[in-house]
């Protein structure tokens, strides 16, 4: 319930595509454009980027939007996570920084996750770390997957189930 509320507030606080985008952003019709360099040409070609990024804060001085603030979220038991689904999500989102079992060329920005079960962290704590790690460490580089609306509550529950079962 609280998650839906957070989501709703986020949605309301997020301007529609293009509305609040600063004038120096590379967008066209509210869509994120990527520059393409054309050999022997004095002009750039602009092609639509595979994702629209306009709802997030940019480096523009004219960008008046706020960063979503650190948000606590109390996960209610039981966790009811699907570890197999969590694994797929972890390989998609987390492996850039964390070493996961079975990966030959893992990220090293975050810690290794192999044998995570041994730490016996409460599920709610692991959930909060993924939902918004800034609650524990304001300077963390780990993205706030819940607060920024990147992952849904069930996604995070699945990730918790996956991590808590790594032996």
């Amino acid at each position: 319930m609280r998650f839906t509320l957070v989501g709703l507030i986020l949605l309301l606080a997020t301007p529609a595509w293009g509305v609040d985008l600063p004038p120096d952003a590379s967008v066209s019709g509210g869509k994120t454009m990527a520059a393409k360099v054309i050999v022997n040409s004095g002009r750039l070609a602009w092609t639509p980027y595979k994702r629209d990024l306009g709802r997030w804060l940019t480096l523009s001085y004219q960008d008046r939007r706020a960063t979503p603030e650190p948000t606590p979220f109390e996960m209610k038991a039981p966790t009811n996570g699907d570890a197999a689904r969590g694994k797929a999500l972890a390989w998609q989102w987390c492996i850039t920084c964390h070493t996961l079992p079975g990966d030959d060329w893992p990220g090293t920005v975050g810690g290794p996750m192999a044998k995570y079960k041994q730490f016996k962290h409460p599920d709610a704590l692991v959930f909060q770390q993924i939902f918004d790690a800034r609650i524990f460490n304001p300077n963390t580089v780990m993205p706030a997957y819940g607060t920024f609306g990147l992952l849904a509550e069930q996604d995070i529950r699945d990730l918790v189930a996956y991590l808590q079962n790594l032996e």
Binding site: R51, W56, T58, T108
Partner: protein
Amino acid sequence: MKTLFSILAAVTSFAALAQPEIPYREYEPLDQYEPHVSGDLKLSGSYQYWKDPAKLDYRMAGNPDENWKLNWKFMDPPFNQAVHGGHFALDRGEKLFKQLDAHHRFAVCLGAKKGKLKHLRAGYPRWRDDLKHVAGLEEAIEYCGARQGRVLQNGSYDNSAISLYLASLGNGQPIAIDVAKGPLKEAFERGRHLFHTRVGAFNFSCSSCHTHNIGKRLRGNVITTPYGDAAHYPVYRTQFVLQSLHLRFAECNLDTRTQPLLPGSQPYTDLEVFMTALTNGYPISVPAERDW
């Protein structure tokens, strides 16, 4: 009806005024940097390995776990002797430059003193009286081209080719911009702040990677120091053809799910000033290439 409208208008403008000046933002702790390439010794320490571009260690270049310590300088000349797309771009740049400079108006517009072109690259970004702001070399090329009716958009192949040609004339010259005073100091400070400002879907700042996680792996990419990067741009990349520094910023933005800005925008120019100051004292080495 009309009164209702003006009351509404008054209320809205009051609401706008009452809004806090600066919306909630997050910054990484603001580090100090030295406006000289040797400042890296206090950051990543990798400078000792790439200090002398002619004397890099072949073994480190060939070792994927070690080569980040060379700051990819093994892909710059003189170490890198390969003939690559950067050389073709250089030829194109020379041809275009000579066309535009037939009456020496182009070189003068760019700020070459007494026709001396070899100091141009090392002294940009600089304050331009005509533009009334600090501009990078590519912005100046676009501006001076336009004065002759030639379209040379910032970031385009032809613009970067000319920039590359001018840089090549200064090969070996140390980058030298003075950020100790005036508008360049202000731009440097703004750039330093931007470098630490968290943006995008992942809430990263440039410093999240390039200051605080140097040498760490993001899957297949190893993060390198921000010192010494500005001396090899524009750079040849197979995937991106010819990439200006501003387009590299845009790439790092896209890679971290952040809406990029336009090449030549003020924030990117401020970042360019910041990163160029961190390259002060390092010799220009073009044409360079980088991985894909």
